[in-house]
């Protein structure tokens, strides 16, 4: 006899990824490091910015990078050239990193260094404004980049990414004199979908605005480390 039954699950569709992401985050807490998930469309300037930022902060912070890319290791080579440990995660056909891929990257990182020595771990996601927004990897903060050449309306067209981001970096502002783009409108659109987002305007090429972003990063890293120590004491 077949009697129709129904079970209420109420489970997150991405529960499997969520569990792995929480597992990754437990590692980050144990190592007392801050993990940032850096996301943007292809060509918004993630790697160029990381080159500048890592170089600038290297005297103060120990850092490493998990570098997501669909095929090549070009970005890995660029970042290794600035003197930081980089683990490439080649995603193949996948258009985003997921928590399991990052977990694999962490194992490779552990084979090379002791992650407890790090202050900050960068996860450079695959260039894509859609998919990475839904797949947590265990990060503490999400950073989204949007270059001025992409247009004013992108926060409205890809709202989930900008809603999820803790910090949004408007990049390539050195190009503004050549564009009919109103950067204040970009910022207004970001705040329309995410009023709490911290927004910086900067250029990795000219160096404009980098200081404010670096100060924010240093403060976020310090705050995280203090919280972790308080949790240990308490």
């Amino acid at each position: 006899m077949h009697m129709p039954l129904s079970d209420t699950l109420g489970l997150n569709l991405l529960a499997a990824n969520q569990h792995q992401a929480e597992h990754n985050r437990e590692h980050f807490e144990a190592w007392n490091l801050l993990c940032l998930n850096v996301m943007s469309s292809p060509g918004a300037g993630k790697t160029s910015l990381l080159e500048r930022t890592i170089t600038a902060l290297a005297p103060q912070l120990e850092m490493a990078v998990l570098e997501g890319d669909m095929t090549t290791q070009l970005d890995t080579q660029r970042l290794e050239a600035v003197g930081v440990p980089v683990v490439p995660i080649t995603t193949g056909r996948a258009c985003h990193l997921d928590a399991a891929m990052v977990s694999g990257g962490l194992r490779q990182l552990q084979a090379r260094l002791n992650p407890a020595d790090l202050d900050l771990l960068w996860v450079e996601n695959v260039g894509n404004l859609v998919c990475p927004a839904e797949f947590e990897v265990g990060e503490h903060l999400k950073v989204a980049l949007l270059s001025v050449t992409e247009g004013e309306d992108k926060p409205l067209k890809y709202p989930v990414m900008f809603r999820e981001a803790d910090c949004v970096l408007i990049t390539k502002v050195d190009l503004l004199p050549y564009l009919s783009i109103d950067v204040s409108r970009i910022e207004a659109h970001i705040h329309a979908v995410n009023p709490e987002a911290v927004v910086f305007q900067l250029s990795a090429s000219s160096g404009a605005g980098l200081d404010a972003w670096h100060q924010w990063l240093l403060a976020a890293t310090r705050e995280h480390s203090c919280r972790a120590e308080m949790a240990e004491v308490g």
Binding site: M3, L5, L13, H96
Partner: protein
């Protein structure tokens, strides 16, 4: 196409659910999802990848039922709920506030599973005497 990976996550959750039914082996007829409008999921793509992924598996023959949940937000100035519209930059029509509180639309949820248990005795009185 991230719906492929979402389907993989869904199948892992279903496997876990199946293990919870042991020693019985449920025959699933439908999996019900709730998918919010403010997510990166395209329901059609999810149906397509699900149908492809379950072929030949224990879920073969089951259907994926997707309930779409509209995006709703609450204006924090006047507490009224509204449907954010990208044309108005998702701002509240009542007080022109940014989209502060999302009430619904972020759902990515496995709501329920319809199934039957082969050889299941539905009426205890029907148990044959030993």
């Amino acid at each position: 196409m991230h719906e492929v990976d979402m389907t993989k996550c869904l199948l892992l959750s279903m496997e876990e659910w199946k293990r919870g039914q042991e020693p019985q082996t449920p025959v699933v007829t439908a999996v019900h999802l709730q998918v919010g409008a403010f997510t990166c999921v395209e329901p059609e793509a999810l149906r397509f990848t699900f149908a492809a992924a379950v072929q030949g598996s224990w879920l073969d023959g089951s259907t994926l039922e997707i309930e779409s949940v509209p995006l709703r937000a609450r204006c924090l100035a006047c507490s009224s709920a509204y449907n954010p519209d990208p044309e108005r930059a998702y701002r509240s029509p009542c007080c022109d506030r940014p989209m502060e509180e999302i009430v619904s639309g972020r759902e990515l949820r496995i709501r329920s599973v319809d199934y039957s248990l082969p050889h299941q005795i539905s009426d205890p009185a029907a148990v044959p005497p030993r």
